[in-house]
Each structure stands twice: as structure tokens, then as C-alpha cells.
């Protein structure tokens, strides 16, 4: 696996590329060589310049200095069309297919095979699509409409489209962020097939284990500067993290031992018809309880019901002994529940609003009270409070009046956390708290959760990230198809025991039920 002596020039390369936006230096002296038959990882924290590299390859940005080279020859991409013509294809995290067209029509959009009469030759189109899928080793129906395809399937369609255009370089920008384990495995199988057929692949992921699984070499960026390119086989995950962050990252899972206090959240026989059934559990002060399970097991739905954004049909929720009415987020907040939702961009934040206003949105009443001027909001109090939280959570921002949408994913998540911690909750529910967040920020969020628990907050953490569940939780609850199937104490929680319960392979149901 070590780097062979390469005689052929790289299929696609950036050589000593720098790029600035206004006064911000996005890239500085970056060199990346993508060779045929290689999966190359691009690693770096959010804001390190990965997306700028992708967009430079894709012809969206032009380098200020340095060169883009195709087969060793310097080229200038005047736009994405040039890059496409040179054989570069980008697969984004969330593909953009035409939902009402069939898979085959999507793949051959604008290049449909014609019959002698000039009409679209559907049969040929379907046959060629089937051929592509066979080559990629996936089972998809060419005639199926794109609407309703899973994100994983949509990515496969995008890849097929790229191959049909004779793409020689595939750039995959965080393709696995929204995929389940099985889907990731299939994507990797497809990727290996392409690699063996002579494609060059650039792979970006926040999940280090994926880099180690599929990539041969890795180029690391930090704050827009080029750190180095190395063989993956020569690195440990810790080495890679150290290169990305530039300092020793504190332990990724800094769970402190705590003695749980009294019950803060008590959920009894909670049922929402067709969604989840008979869910009962407790979360004590100082405890982090993880709610694990496969995507679609009903975990987020339970959280939504507890917080009141959805109604429940039967059962009860108590916070510090007080029963909550169903379907009222306002009542849940008043009782001390905070929910950091799954979908940051839709549910967690108002993307067009400023950082400070987003943080203040949960405390409009107290921003008001603090003024002592009747119902008016004090912008000063709002800003001071936001500045305070920004400091505590080490938010990286330019101005508090900037819209929250310009922040990186990790920093956006910190704003959501700040917005909820500012309500001084007794129970904090976090749904996928570190999804799509870089490794440094992830460790910060974990440390924060751990400290909050140590300060007697009750935390319910929903997570699909097994190492996170095992690393952070005092107890692991597992859901399968809308029911709690296991309650596993920290000492007994392993990947195997959690996965067994999550897939319904366990016979023994914990005391939870």
C-alpha cells in the first residue's frame, strides 16, 4: 500500500495553489495530486479550506496563484463546464436530481440517446443505465423515478452519471454524512470498483475511520495551509487528528464519572400511534443517557414528543415531578426541557438571522425583563449575553451581528447549544449533537456535555455514532422499530450489545419495558 514510484503524471493536480476571498486567505500553497487508481483523502477541520479545494477542482473558483494540471499539463478552468469536459465530476453530500424524472433520464439529462427519427430512445437509455449499474455493482431500476430514492441511492445515480460522462476524477464531498452503515459499505464497494477501473477519487469525510478504511493517501489542510501528503498506512488516527488540529486534542470522549442524582425526566409508557410504542425511561440529574438505534427507529420522534413539538397519544412525561401537557413546547421549556434538534439548518437555527438573535430567540422574555423598561428588548443585554456564550463555547465568529448561516457546521451547533443552555434547563435533549462536525469541535462538544452533566444537568443524547454513544453515555437505551429494546449500563455497553438490540436480534429486553 505504500506509495509506488509513479511514472505517469497525476490525472488531476493542484500545484502550489493560493486563493483569497477579499482579505480572507482560503488556500495557501496547496498541492494535491490525484493519481489514477487511487482514493485520496482530504482531511482538515471545518474552515480548513477543503470546500475551496473542491470548488477549484470543479472549476467554480480559479486559483490566484499556482496551477491546476490535468495529466501534467497546466489548464485553466473557466467554469464548471470546463472541469466537466476535463473529466472531473463532483458528488455532493446531498445530490440534486430531478425528482419527477426517472433514474435513467436523470443520468442522461441533456445527452439522451436518439432514435433514427430523433426521438429519445428510451430502450437504449434504460439498457445503458442498467449497464452502468451493473458496472458499479448496484441493483437499481433505471425506470424508477428519482423521487423517493434514499440519499445513498441518489449518490449512486450521480456516480453513474459521472461515469457515463467518462469522468476520470470523482470528487466526493462528505458523501457518507447522511448514510447508514450498510449504505456506506455499498458506497465504498462502488468506490473501490471505480478505483480499480482507473479512476482517481478524492474523498472527504469527517469520519476518520472511513479515511483509514478506503483511502491510500491523505492530504491535510489546516487554516487554508498545506500541511502534507502521507500514506494512510503510515499514520494512526491520532497522528491524523494531530495534523488536522495542530495541537494535541484532548480526549475525544472526556466522560467524567458522576453519581446520578434524583430523577429529572421521567417518561412513562409514551406512545404515538404508528411511530413509537410504550416507551418508558428515566434520566437522573448528572447523568448522560444515550438513546441509540438505527435511523428510523423512532428516537428523534420520542425526543420531539417529550419536547412537545409533536403530540403523544398515550403515556406521560414528568420533569422534576411535574407532568407536562402534550404538544406544548412552551410548557416543556417552562418546565426546564431544552431540545437541540436533529436538523440544525431547519429546526435549530433561523439561518438568515444573526448569531446574537438566534441565541436570544429562546429567552425573549428574559431579554425583556432584564431591561427594566417594560416590554422592550435590550439589544445591549442580548449582545452581552450572546458574547458571553460565544466566549464560553469558544465560538469562532467575525461579528455577532453576522447571519448564523455563514458559520461552519460546528460553530452553528455551538450557537444552537448556547441558545438552549441560556435557558438554564434541567433536562437537555441533544439529537445527533456532533453530526457533520469536525473532530476538534466534536471533542469540545463532548467535553461540554460532560461538564454540564457534572453540574447536575440531566442529558438525553440521541446519536447514531456508536463510539460517541459508548464513550459518553452512563446508560444506553436502545430503540428498535418504535420500541425500547434494551437498557445497557455503561460497563456492559459494547458495539455488539448495542447493535444487537438496535437490529432487534436480542431476546432479552432490559428492565426498561
Amino acid at each position: 500500500m505504500s506509495a509506488p514510484a509513479r511514472s505517469a503524471p497525476p490525472t488531476l493536480a493542484l500545484v502550489n495553489v493560493s486563493k483569497s476571498f477579499g482579505a480572507v486567505r482560503a488556500l495557501q500553497g496547496v498541492t494535491i495530486e490525484l493519481h489514477a487508481g487511487e482514493v485520496h483523502a482530504l482531511a482538515g477541520e471545518n474552515g480548513a479550506g477543503k470546500s475551496t479545494v473542491v470548488k477549484t477542482f470543479a472549476g467554480v473558483h480559479r486559483p490566484d496563484t499556482g496551477e491546476v494540471r490535468v495529466e501534467g499539463r497546466p489548464v485553466t478552468f473557466h467554469g464548471p463546464a470546463d472541469a466537466q469536459a476535463a473529466g472531473v465530476a463532483v458528488i455532493y453530500q446531498e445530490p440534486t436530481l430531478f425528482p419527477d424524472l426517472s433514474v435513467a433520464e436523470n443520468i442522461f439529462m441533456g445527452r439522451q440517446p436518439r432514435t433514427a427519427l430523433g426521438r429519445i430512445d428510451r430502450r437504449a437509455m434504460h439498457a445503458r443505465t442498467a449497464e452502468l449499474f451493473e458496472r458499479l455493482g448496484v441493483a437499481l431500476d433505471p425506470q424508477q423515478p428519482a423521487r423517493g430514492l434514499s440519499i445513498a441511492d441518489q449518490q449512486v445515480v450521480e456516480i453513474a452519471k459521472a461515469i457515463s460522462r467518462k469522468a476520470r476524477v470523482l470528487i466526493m464531498d462528505e458523501p457518507t454524512a447522511a448514510l447508514t452503515g450498510q449504505e456506506v459499505a455499498r458506497l465504498f464497494a462502488v468506490t473501490r470498483t471505480l478505483r480499480d477501473q482507473g479512476c482517481a477519487v478524492l474523498f472527504i469525510s469527517h469520519r476518520l475511520e472511513e479515511i483509514f478504511e478506503i483511502c491510500q493517501r491523505v492530504t491535510t489542510l489546516r487554516d487554508g495551509t498545506y500541511i502534507g501528503t502521507e500514506d494512510v498506512a503510515d499514520l494512526t488516527p491520532d497522528d491524523l487528528v494531530q495534523r488536522m488540529v495542530g495541537r494535541e486534542v484532548e480526549a475525544l470522549y472526556p466522560k467524567q464519572d458522576v453519581t446520578p442524582g434524583e430523577v429529572a425526566l421521567k417518561v412513562s409508557r409514551l406512545t404515538r400511534e404508528g411511530v413509537f410504542t410504550d416507551v418508558s425511561f428515566e434520566v437522573r440529574r448528572g447523568e448522560i443517557v444515550a438513546l441509540a438505534g438505527l435511523v428510523g427507529a423512532g428516537r428523534s420522534e420520542v425526543a420531539r414528543a417529550i419536547f412537545g413539538v409533536d403530540r403523544w397519544d398515550a403515556g406521560a412525561v414528568e420533569v422534576n415531578g411535574t407532568a407536562l401537557p402534550p404538544g406544548s413546547p412552551t410548557a416543556a421549556m417552562a418546565a426546564g426541557i431544552a431540545l437541540v434538534p436533529e436538523d440544525r439548518r431547519q429546526q435549530g437555527l433561523v439561518m438568515d438571522m444573526s448569531i446574537e438573535r438566534n441565541m436570544g430567540l429562546t429567552q425573549l422574555r428574559s431579554l425583556r425583563r432584564a431591561t427594566g423598561r417594560g416590554p422592550l428588548i435590550s439589544r445591549r443585554v442580548e449582545r452581552d449575553r450572546a458574547a458571553d456564550w460565544a466566549l464560553r463555547l469558544q465560538l469562532k465568529y467575525a461579528r455577532l451581528s453576522d447571519v448564523v448561516g455563514v458559520l461552519s457546521g460546528g460553530n452553528q451547533q455551538k450557537v444552537v447549544l448556547a441558545k438552549w443552555l441560556a435557558t438554564d434547563p434541567a433536562v437537555l435533549i441533544v439529537d445527533e449533537p456532533t453530526r457533520g462536525i469536525d473532530v476538534g469541535t466534536k471533542a469540545e462538544v463532548h467535553r461540554l456535555l460532560s461538564e454540564l452533566a457534572a453540574q447536575n444537568l440531566a442529558i438525553l443524547m440521541i446519536s447514531s455514532d456508536l463510539p460517541e454513544v459508548l464513550g459518553m453515555a452512563d446508560r444506553v437505551l436502545v430503540m428498535h422499530e418504535g420500541r425500547l429494546t434494551a437498557e445497557i449500563p455503561r460497563a456492559e455497553a459494547t458495539e455488539e450489545s448495542v447493535m444487537a438490540a438496535a437490529t432487534g436480534r436480542t431476546g432479552a429486553v432490559g428492565e426498561a419495558a
Binding site: 480559479r62 464548471p80 455532493y92 416543556a332 430567540l361 456564550w389 461552519s408
Partner: protein, 385 residues
């Protein structure tokens, strides 16, 4: 999008040092403990960040543009027609705006919150018809007014309930009730007209506040406009409306009572529209079922012209004020110069199209510039969604 954020959000190097402070207990509005954490002025960070040239265009706000346009048109008008600047004409022009201006206030709140009420002119007509019918039937004006206001409130309540409880889009609901309420107006009064209202009340609708060129309804509007501006821009309710308009789901997840607020706005809109109906009836001294036909479009035109985003989440009351006045000034100028009615409506229409279009065009130009050329992917994304 994400990329631009990543580039902008470079670490302000000052932050790393004080890691120990993180995770301290939430402040709960207690100012005393802020000092302990070392609450640094937020401006400290600004120095380290560089925003580059993108921001410059954003400083030119649409509402300011409209206000400037208003001033230009106003003084242009003074130069153009000698009658325009005299006190009587200004007073008349203002009075002529009464209903539009009043209804524009709740309409602004609705549009900011991502909703719209097309039934306002019909509520105005229904109220006018009711005033006529009841006055004709011998009821005292003092009884009629509260009664009609209650009817307006109920009209608004119906809109609000249909939108919030049944989850229907407000555009569809109020297109329906627009026809419904106008129909009811004809049921009440048919095609007749009722006039001869008591002088003391018609005077109140027409006369100026003593010593000023400002008619009473406009004086009332000024007070209400100030209140609305404060509510929209300086209270939690205002913040909530902007949040709902910008991203309703996130607002709901932040514990904002989305449905309740929307309901209140629709009720308010109906109430103000029926009050405008009373003003209209008294001002013209004539109650008719077709009073104020088409007025809703002028109101919405003024609101959009004032820079409120029809998609919700953006806008200022100052902008709407400028928009209302600009429409009033234009109408008055065209009238003074004997321009035909059709041309007047064409001008209003053009103004509206321009006001909706210009910010979009600016946004697109800005986007193209910052991306350094269009790309195929976003276009496909738009087509697919």
C-alpha cells in the same frame, strides 16, 4: 453556501487562551456573574476578522432607497406642479391615504411573518355596507361602530382559524374569504348607497387636527404606526414574527407560539380593516358594498415597495411608511396632472414590479460576483426543488 461560511468563520486567535471558562453555568440574565467569566466586549473579535469587499453592497438597504426616492419624487413634484406643495393639497393627499395606511400596518406584520391577508378590502366593504344598513335602520353611530368592529374581528378570526387550525396557506384562504366577505357586503346592502351620516362624525374623518395639515385618521395612523414599529423592531413579539417568517420550523422549535401569533395577526388585520371601512364610509359620506374594491392590492404594493420580503422574515416599518407615502405622492401627482386612471394604475403596477424585482436582481448579481461565475449545479438544484 457552506463554503462561504467556512471561509468567513476563521478562528479569532484570541479565543483559544481562555478555554477554562467554557461550560460555566448559564448566566440566567444575572449581570453580576458576567464579569467573572471575563465577558469581553464582542467588538474585540471584529478586529481579527476580515470581511473583504462582499459586504459593501449590503449597506445600501432597500427601505433607505425607497425613502430617498420618496424625497426625490416629493421635491420633483413641488417643482413640477405649483399646487402640489400647498398645505391643502398635502392634507388632501394624506387623507386620501387613510385606509391604505391603516391597513398597511397589520399587513406589514403579516407579510413579515410569511402570511398575507387579501380579504382586507372586502372586510372594508362589508363594514361599510353594515354601517350603511344599520344607520339606515335607525341605530346610533355610537352603537354601530363597536358592532362593526366586532364583525371585522370575527372576519379576521375566521381567516386566522382557517390558516392556523387547518394549516391552509393564507394566500388561498384569504382569496376565498375575499370573495366571501364582499359577497356578504352585497347581501347586506345590495347595490344601494346610504349617505347623510351625522356631521360630527364625517367631520372627524375629514378635518385636520387643529393647527396642522394632518387629518384625524392620519394622526391616529401616526400613533398606531409608532406602536407597530416598536412592537416589530424592539419587542420579543417582533423578533418572533421575523423568526417565523424566516424559518417557521426553527421558530416553533424555539418555543415560539407560532399559531397563536398568526391568529392574533389575522384578527388584528380584520379589526383594522373594518375600522378603515368606517373611516372610508364617513370620509366619503357614502356607504356602499363595493367600497374599497381592489384596495388590498394597493396595500400589498405599498408594503412590498417598502422592502418587506413577500417570503417573510425581512422588512422594516420605516420602509413601509416610505412605501405608503410614495404611492400616495405618486397618485396625487398623477391626479393633479390629470393623468387618466388607467395610467395611474399602470404606474402603481410598475412600481410594485420594480420593487419586488430590484432586490432580487441585486441579490443575483451579488451572488454571481462572489461565486466568480455561474455554475451548473445550483441551477439544477433550483430546477429539481
Amino acid at each position: 453556501m457552506a463554503d462561504r461560511g467556512a471561509v468567513g468563520g476563521r478562528p479569532p486567535t484570541g479565543n483559544r487562551a481562555d478555554r477554562g471558562a467554557v461550560g460555566g453555568r448559564p448566566p440566567t440574565g444575572n449581570t453580576a456573574d458576567r464579569g467573572a467569566v471575563g465577558g469581553r466586549p464582542p467588538t474585540g473579535n471584529t478586529a481579527g476578522s476580515k470581511q473583504g469587499g462582499f459586504e459593501v453592497g449590503r449597506l445600501v438597504r432597500w427601505d433607505v432607497v425607497v425613502a430617498a426616492l420618496l424625497i426625490v419624487v416629493f421635491f420633483g413634484g413641488v417643482g413640477l406642479s405649483p399646487d402640489f406643495g400647498n398645505t391643502d393639497n398635502i392634507s388632501f393627499a394624506l387623507g386620501d391615504l387613510s385606509e391604505i395606511a391603516l391597513i398597511a400596518l397589520p399587513m406589514t406584520l403579516l407579510v413579515v411573518c410569511g402570511q398575507v391577508d387579501l380579504s382586507v378590502a372586502s372586510v372594508l366593504g362589508l363594514s361599510s355596507a353594515l354601517v350603511g344598513k344599520l344607520w339606515d335602520g335607525g341605530m346610533a353611530i355610537e352603537t354601530i361602530i363597536p358592532l362593526v368592529l366586532v364583525v371585522g374581528l370575527v372576519c379576521g378570526l375566521v381567516n386566522g382559524v382557517l390558516v392556523t387550525r387547518l394549516g391552509l396557506p393564507s394566500l388561498a384562504v384569504t382569496i376565498g374569504t375575499m370573495t366571501l366577505y364582499r359577497g356578504l357586503a352585497y347581501v347586506v346592502l345590495g347595490t344601494e348607497a346610504v349617505s347623510q351620516f351625522p356631521q360630527q362624525y364625517t367631520d372627524l374623518a375629514v378635518n385636520n387636527v387643529p393647527g396642522t395639515p394632518i387629518p384625524y385618521p392620519i394622526a391616529l395612523f401616526a400613533v398606531l404606526a409608532l406602536t407597530t414599529a416598536v412592537v416589530l423592531h424592539a419587542t420579543g413579539v417582533g423578533r418572533s414574527l421575523f423568526a417565523i417568517g424566516a424559518q417557521e420550523e426553527a421558530a416553533y422549535f424555539a418555543g415560539i407560539r407560532v399559531k397563536r401569533l398568526k391568529l392574533i395577526l389575522f384578527v388584528l388585520s380584520g379589526l383594522v380593516a373594518s375600522f378603515a371601512g368606517i373611516v372610508y364610509t364617513l370620509r366619503y359620506g357614502s356607504a356602499r358594498a363595493d367600497n374599497g374594491l381592489g384596495l388590498e392590492l394597493t396595500v400589498i404594493a405599498a408594503v412590498l415597495l417598502g422592502g418587506v420580503d413577500f417570503d417573510g422574515g425581512k422588512g422594516t416599518l420605516g420602509g413601509v411608511l416610505a412605501g405608503v407615502l410614495l404611492i400616495g405622492v405618486m397618485r396625487n401627482l398623477l391626479m393633479l396632472n390629470d393623468v387618466a386612471n388607467e395610467i395611474q394604475s399602470i404606474v402603481t403596477g410598475l412600481l410594485l414590479v420594480v420593487s419586488v424585482l430590484t432586490p432580487r436582481v441585486i441579490a443575483i448579481v451579488r451572488e454571481v460576483r462572489s461565486r466568480g461565475g455561474g455554475s451548473g449545479a445550483p441551477a439544477a438544484a433550483k430546477a429539481a426543488s
